[in-house]
Each structure stands twice: as C-alpha cells, then as structure tokens.
C-alpha cells in the first residue's frame, strides 16, 4: 500500500505544481489568508499565556484565560463599485489548541480594492444549519436555548470580591428568553466586523486582532462579580456581550 502511495503522491504533486505555474501567468486571482491574533490591550496573548491569573480588566478584576474559541463566518469583499463577493464560510478559531488561527479562503479574490468584513458568530440562517465539525467540537447550544452553536466560549478564573478564585464562562450565543419548547429571541447578537478598505494586489495575508480586554470594557464596564457563570440563558448578559463585542476586533498587519 505504502509502496504505491508514494509515487502516486509524486504524480499528483507534479500535476498540481504544473497547473500552478499556469495560474500565476494567466489570472489575477489572489489567495487570501486571515490570521487571527489575540492581545490584551496590546500585549500579545497566545495559549502559552493561558491559565495564569495575570490580566486586569477595566473593572480592576484580576483574571486568567483557560479556554478561548469562537466562530467567524460569512466573509465579504465589497469593491468600490459595490460588487460584493460574499463567501458562505465559517471558521472555528481555537486559541486553546492553536487550531485554525490561520484561515485561507478556497475562493480566490480578483485584484482590487475592497471593504472587507465578516460576521462574529453565525447569522440566524447559518446558526440553524447542522455543522458536523462544530458538533464534533461540542460547540452546540442546547435546543431549549434555541439550538445552533456558541459564537464564543471564553472560560477563565477571576479573583472575586471575597479575594477567592472563581470560574467565569463568558459564552456568547444568540440571546434567548423563555427557554424551553418555544424560546424567544429578544435581538440578534451576532454582529458584523468591518475591517475597512484593503487593497488586494497579490496573495494577501490579513491579520485580524482581537483585543480580549475589550470584552470587559466598552460601552459596558463588565463586573465579573455580577456576571460570571450561567450567562447562556441570560439575555441581558448576551446583549451586553454583543455591545462590548463591537470594539473587540480590528485590522492588523496586511502582508502582500
């Protein structure tokens, strides 16, 4: 089996590398990669910084990050003459396990200048789909809370007002009331992140920065003593996450 496989791969490789040469000459299509980076008010955060209670949020509470993963979806490129390339894709950024921090689009983007945006979480239509990979990651939201998926799972510990370590589960989902057979949805809590105008002239890497501290900062000063766990069925907390989420993401480096 192995014997056959190796030459087979070589055959395959030589085919694909040939056709790539052709592409380079003939088309103006560009590979686009999104690189997700994370920081705490400017200080880089990777999973190597997890588990230590070293971050202070705007409310002055010390905290640690133990798990961080979130979905982004529906990436849009809007050209200056309002032509829209809308890609029905999603990516689970898993900072804990260093998975999918880099996401290359299957669709190539023609050279041009675009306003680039995407959705944090999943819009209601996408959230009603059955995604086998997200199920396999246990990213689901229970049916009585409307089903679908978490937008973000952000777990850690903070020092509470009694000076004790306490867990928090900052889980963003579609805000929901009346859990049960017929839940209701007070407002949408997925949102669009607009990265601004990016010139795509060749293969492009776009850095998307998440400032984790922003989840606790603006416009709502988040007090972990009041909102720490069991936030999924709490639509008030969900709408606060939605409000604070608006300033969390920004465009970083663009490399061509």
């Amino acid at each position: 089996m192995k014997k056959i496989l190796t030459p087979f791969l070589i055959v395959l490789l030589s085919f694909t590398s040939c056709s790539e040469d052709l592409d380079d000459n003939l088309s103006l299509q560009n590979l686009t990669t999104f690189n997700f980076t994370h920081n705490w008010d400017g200080t880089l955060v990777t999973n190597a910084n997890f588990n230590n209670i070293v971050y202070t949020n705007a409310n002055g509470d010390l905290l640690s990050i133990e798990r961080l993963r979130y979905v982004i979806s529906d990436i849009m490129f809007t050209s200056s003459n309002n032509e829209i390339i809308e890609l029905d894709v999603y990516n689970l950024v898993d900072v804990t396990n260093n998975n999918n921090l880099s996401f290359t689009l299957q669709t190539q983007i023609p050279t041009g200048s675009y306003t680039v945006s995407f959705t944090f979480g999943l819009d209601n239509e996408d959230n009603a789909e059955n995604y086998l990979d997200l199920n396999s990651e246990s990213f689901n939201v229970p049916d009585m809370l409307g089903g679908g998926y978490h937008y973000m799972q952000f777990d850690g510990k903070f020092i509470n007002s009694n000076s004790e370590e306490q867990g928090f589960n900052y889980h963003a989902i579609r805000a929901v009331d009346n859990p049960g057979m017929n839940p209701t949805f007070p407002q949408d809590t997925f949102f669009t992140i607009d990265l601004g105008v990016i010139d795509i002239t060749s293969n492009t890497e776009i850095e998307v920065q998440m400032n984790i501290a922003e989840w606790f900062k603006n416009p709502i000063l988040w007090d972990l003593n009041d909102f720490n766990q069991m936030l999924m069925p709490n639509s008030t907390a969900q709408i606060m996450m939605y409000d604070n989420g608006q300033n969390v993401f920004s465009l970083g480096e663009v490399i061509q």
Binding site: M1, K2, K3, I4, L5, T6, P7, F8, I10, V11, S14, F15, S17, C18, F50, N51, N52, E66, R67, N130, L132, D133, N135, S136, E137, S138, N140, P142, D143, M144, Q153, D155, G156, K157, E164, E165, Q166, G167, F168, N169, P179, Q229, M230, L231, M232, P233
Partner: protein, 352 residues
C-alpha cells in the same frame, strides 16, 4: 524539466510496485459500518492509512484480544480487564495484572475509539494512537507483564497464528507492529450507537417525562451543565475527548495529564469519559472511586473539591456544587441510563 522526469520515474515506480505484488492475495477490505446517528452528526472516524480495516485483520485482532498468549504466564488477556459484558471494562476500582498487583487506575471501557479525534488514549492521554496504546499493556509489569520479543516468538511458533497473520497482512513474519495493528482494527469495530437515546434521537422511541427532565438538567447551565464536557444530542459520542479537572480532589496523588505534559496547569486533569454504557461500567472515575451513579451525581452536586486547576466550568465550588434537588438527581440518573446500549454488550461479534 525536473518535474517531468519525476513524473516519468514515478510512473515507472508505480508500474513496478504493481507488478511486484506476486501472490495476488489481498485481505478483504471491510470499512467500518458507521451508524447513521454518527454520520448525520459528527465527522468521520480516524483510520490510519497504513492500517486499513480488513475482515482478516479484525478477526485476528479479536483472537489476540481474547488470547492469554499475550501475557507472560498465560493467565490474562486484554479481555481480562476489558470484558464485553462490562462494555469492555471491568467491575473493580482498579485492576490486577498477572502477578496479582493492582494498578492505580480504573480500566477504561472500549467503544467508539475511532472517533477519539485527537487520538490521545488512556486517562491521561499518554498513548498517541490505538496501535501504540496496544503495545503498552503487554509489557506493563502490573498488566500482562510480558515482553514483545517473547510474545512474537510464541505467536510465531503457534499452530494457527502464522497463517492468520498471512491472511491479514500478507506475510508469515509476525511482528509487534502487525500484532498491535490487528488489535487496533478489532478495537475500532467496537461501535456503540444503539441506546434508547439514539433511538429517541432518530424518532424511533419516546423518553419518559423523568428522562426528559434529566436531559434538561444535563443541558441547563444553571443545573447540571454537563454538556460542555460530555457531549449533547448533536454530539452522540457523549464526550469531548478532552482533559479536565472535574473537582475530585484538592491535591493530587495522580497528576494525570500533568504527568504527561510536565505542565503544572494540567495537574489533576483526566479525559472526560463517554457517558454511554454507564449501566455496565461501574465503578466510575479514573481511580474507580465511585461505586454508583448516585455517588457521581452527588459529587457534582455538592462534593466538589477546589484546586488551582479545577475547570472553570465547575460552579459554586465553595458550596460543593450546584445543589441539585433530589428529584433532579433522580431524573439526571434516569437520563444517563438512556445512553446505555444493551445491543453493544450482547453483540456476538464482540464475544469470544
């Protein structure tokens, strides 16, 4: 230019490798029979490309799994600690090996192993594939306490095994690698996906009001909140195959994942077991400390022990947990039992 040459060489090599298969015999490929509750909900299982499932490989693996020939003194097989009627675990807190010495960990049930996507096996994730996992118990002094050279010799001299290896792997030369490959093939066929809850999910049966309330307790963040670690109706593995400290101890005699990674932040973390087949797998936890599901549920409800690595999903630790009512506890247990699959333990193809 070079590419073209490579292509030509590769092509020649391809023809040569085809024609060098002299015997003409090939074992019969037998892909896993993936239950629809899995294919409808989760990504496909992991089968290593260098160990495809075959009829002959699985049959050989099964024979090896039940055969005491793997142990130094011929008294134990894998099945001694992984018995079919216990969903392939045993019923003691820890297990004794061939010398009567007990280990420190509870034997693990074996099912749906090909869906352990990270391929980290054992309570602490030490073994990085099923094939490699199978190497260890044979030599472990408190398990089969044998050594591979001796095992391979015994198999090679056995009246049947050389022919069975030839059928499975096209060679009479028995090796450790082929032995563990066969065992892993058999283990991958141990699929459990026919519980009452599976049939409920597929619309083939109903749950009682009590079982449904138990599911609610399981899923509610303000009650059990078990689903963040133990799967949900859309993840019918009923585990996240990940490692957590679920608050069993405030200090650790067994470091679990921390021993493997060397990271103190991993101390006291163990793999979340699947909640399938709990009816047959008592006692529970990595050291088998809980004899009953009531004890497990009481642990989560009011027995949590704090430590620096306790999972942040654990709640109200100062009070010992989320304080479920007696009714909710009973209902949660009733729900958990709907995940047990009698057809799995009765399946004749899994018995010796």
């Amino acid at each position: 230019m070079i590419k073209r040459w490579l292509y030509i060489i590769a092509f020649i090599a391809l023809c040569l490798s085809c024609s060098s298969e002299d015997t003409g015999y090939e074992p019969t490929v037998q892909p896993l029979d993936i239950p629809s509750i899995f294919s409808d909900n989760i990504i496909p299982p992991i089968i290593p490309i260098d160990n495809p499932q075959t009829v002959e490989g699985v049959a050989l693996g099964k024979k090896l799994f039940f055969d005491r020939i793997l142990s130094a003194n011929g008294t134990q097989a894998c099945a001694s600690c992984h018995s079919p009627q216990n969903a392939f675990t045993d019923n003691t807190p820890t297990s004794s090996g061939i010398d009567g010495i007990f280990g420190t960990r509870n034997s693990m049930p074996l099912f749906n192993l090909a869906w352990n996507y990270n391929e980290r096996f054992n309570w602490d994730g030490t073994a990085l594939s099923l094939e490699r996992q199978a190497e260890e118990p044979v030599e472990n002094p408190i398990e089969l306490h044998s050594n591979w050279e001796a095992v391979v010799d015994r198999l090679q001299e056995h009246p049947e095994y050389p022919e069975l290896f030839r059928l499975a792997f096209n060679t009479n030369t028995i090796t450790k690698e082929l032995t563990t490959k066969a065992i892993a093939q058999f283990e991958r066929t141990l699929i459990s996906a026919n519980s009452k809850f599976d049939r409920y999910s597929m619309g083939q049966t109903n749950l009682t009001a009590q079982e449904l309330n138990g599911l609610d307790v399981f899923l509610r963040e303000d009650k059990g909140d078990c689903f963040h670690c133990h799967g949900n109706p859309n993840n019918p593995l009923w585990t996240d195959n990940d490692f957590h400290n679920n608050g069993l101890d405030s200090s650790f005699s067994d470091l679990g994942l921390g021993e493997v990674t060397g990271d103190p932040n991993d101390n006291g973390k163990f793999k979340s077991p699947s909640l399938r087949n709990l009816a047959y797998t008592a006692p529970y936890m990595h050291d088998g400390r809980f004899a009953t599901l009531e004890e497990v549920i009481n642990h989560y409800s009011d027995g949590l022990q704090n430590s620096s690595t306790i999972d942040p999903l654990m709640k109200q630790i100062a009070q010992g947990g989320v304080q479920l009512s007696d009714q909710d506890k009973a209902d949660l247990k009733a729900f958990l039992l709907t995940l047990s699959d009698p057809s799995f333990i009765d399946n004749p193809s899994f018995h010796n």
